[in-house]
Symmetry: C2
Subunit: 361 residues, 2 copies
């Protein structure tokens, strides 16, 4: 199949750019002296996780029990579920993963949750690694106070079926702060909190073996603190207009967009405007509008026009013809990936593979 | 399965409320003297289309070739594809549907598109009903000028394999205008345009047999003009916070929300706040925030906290416990449905069925 003939709207990933992004992050992690557990929330795809593992990652971070199941079935080890599992459904599915021998660790941020995990692991006749999730200013998940974190680590350590594995400290709210220096300044404040947590745990005889965190926007700053043992970025694989606009290191952004949405011109009845078959169901709309690239009129601006449509407004005549394909850079890669059933994998003008997005909602 | 035990995030539909909404729209269409071809873009689900057909609808409107395929495979007739099909892929799939004997009509808004449809229908040895799509002020798809519409109807009529079936006039941009009187005033302006198109076509010997349009917000106003032969609403099945806020007739909104997203409390470490496992991947974010209902603290306000998380902020103590289920009214039903693989069908506290959302992206 030719790239311009994919059934639209479609999610395209350029395999060569993807592989370069994978290699670039592997090299950065090696240079920074941290392990790499890239986040499967970005791709939800076994084929991509396998490429990442082949490039030397220690495992896959997962946001949901469904991602963990998909990765485990795909033979991926070193799974870390980075959000607390608390529903009876999630706990039951964790139980089944443990029975099947999955190589999985989880985070927890509450004593009730640790008690539940202890019962599940005991019931499965396994030991389960548990990482204490720390709230480092985002107010999302994690222990709010240092004594809470110490108490939780102690509770984990005391449970026969659990192993206290370390801590997680992730600042999702700081990943896109620009300029770089301001991001570094805000992260430095939270870094002191991580240092204090580590000190308190160490004083209590519970030094964390794992300190996990770091996203695409923060991982170089995080790793440079010397506190983190591993990073869990995901968006670097694909990039998007939001991440492309920020510097990843002081003056550099080594990651190149590999992910595109292909759409078809379905109406072209007005000068300076074409309408494509991609709207709110084809692009995540939480972080702004997509940008027309290949096939789009130069300088065109996108407008959402409902669930299935978007308009491209442009100056001057011409523009793509009825039936033509236009490719877009998304504004937010992760929730856009979650809208599709598969990646159409492209190299140049050819579709070379189709990879199912098995863990999408 | 109990309603509170569904794997979250999950899409719930209350079957009794759904059926009441279906009946209510059927009764309204009968009273207004228009036929009913409800839009499958809202549900993308054969089981729901079958219930709508059993209640007397003439068919299913579809936004994509994928929806048309799904409906046809589900035995649904009277399919009208309401957006132009222009890609080589969509045309090829239309060809296969014609070969399989699907009962399908399509819209067109361009001479090149009509030529393509004529070739496809001839190649399949079938006649294909084509409806002329008219731009009635939205600037999305449709013939821009009246002479264009007449010329297109004439071109369809002249093609041996095509049947000129009528016109489509849909004002998606006016569905949510409030108050009702202002919506009626704006629709009246566009109604004059529809009247002029019908008059020009009639003068040319091409009176439209079908005049299709009308959404959940406009169908009563549209039908009252006497110009429309059928309406194609979809959101009335489920409703959402945006549609619940507008009056459907002068002083009335007979449709009741039947659609909910169920999420689980995954963190509860701060007073006046819990965090649930539902964010931008669980709720379409184009039209605002979801509203916590069943299980949520009274008066709680939702904040998106990334792809997989949302916070519920509330006054006072208490609040739902870790692991508890909270249900939400979505802000925009159609693109939220498209995020899920299935409806969990509920009646009271029980899950009574699971219906796949086969035509999602």
């Amino acid at each position: 199949m030719r790239r311009s003939d994919v059934p639209t709207p479609a999610l395209l990933v350029d395999i060569d750019i993807l592989d370069r992004n994978i290699a670039s992050m592997r090299d950065a992690a090696a240079a920074l002296g941290v392990k790499l557990r890239p986040h499967a929330k970005a791709h939800k795809c076994v084929e991509i996780a396998q490429r990442i593992m082949a490039a030397g990652a220690i495992g896959a971070s997962c946001a949901t029990i469904g991602e963990a199941e998909t990765m485990a079935l795909g033979g991926i080890g070193g799974i870390l579920v980075t959000a607390p599992l608390t529903s009876s459904d999630a706990i039951e599915r964790l139980h089944r993963l443990l029975l099947r021998g999955a190589d999985i660790a989880v985070v927890a941020d509450h004593p009730a949750s640790v008690a539940q995990l202890a019962a599940v692991a005991a019931g499965a006749g396994r030991t389960l690694d548990v990482v204490v999730d720390i709230d480092v200013g985002m107010g999302r998940t994690g222990c709010a106070e240092i004594p809470d974190a110490v108490a939780l680590a102690r509770q984990i350590e005391a449970a026969p079926a659990l192993t206290y594995a370390g801590i997680q400290a992730y600042w999702g709210n700081l990943q896109h702060v620009s300029p770089f220096a301001e991001r570094a300044r805000l992260i430095a404040i939270q870094t002191e909190r991580v240092r204090a947590v580590i000190a308190a745990l160490t004083s209590a005889g519970l030094p964390p073996a794992i300190v996990s965190g770091g996203g695409t926007g923060s991982h170089r700053i995080d790793a440079a603190t010397g506190l983190f043992t591993e990073i869990q970025p995901g968006s670097y694989l694909f990039m998007d207009s939001c991440y492309s606009a920020v510097s990843i290191s002081e003056n550099d952004n080594p990651f190149v967009p590999s992910l595109f949405v292909a759409a078809t011109v379905v109406s072209a009845n007005k000068p300076g405007r074409v309408v494509v078959n991609a709207g709110w169901k084809a692009f995540a709309a939480d972080s702004g509008k997509p940008v027309a690239l290949r096939g789009g009129p130069p300088g065109a601006s996108f407008r959402f026009m409902g669930d299935e449509h978007g308009a491209l407004d442009f100056e001057g005549g011409g523009g793509p013809k009825l039936g033509a394909t236009v490719e877009f850079l998304t504004s937010h890669c992760d929730p856009t990936v979650n809208l599709y059933g598969a990646f159409h994998v492209v190299r140049g003008d050819e579709v070379v593979d189709i990879w199912p997005i098995r863990a999408r909602y």
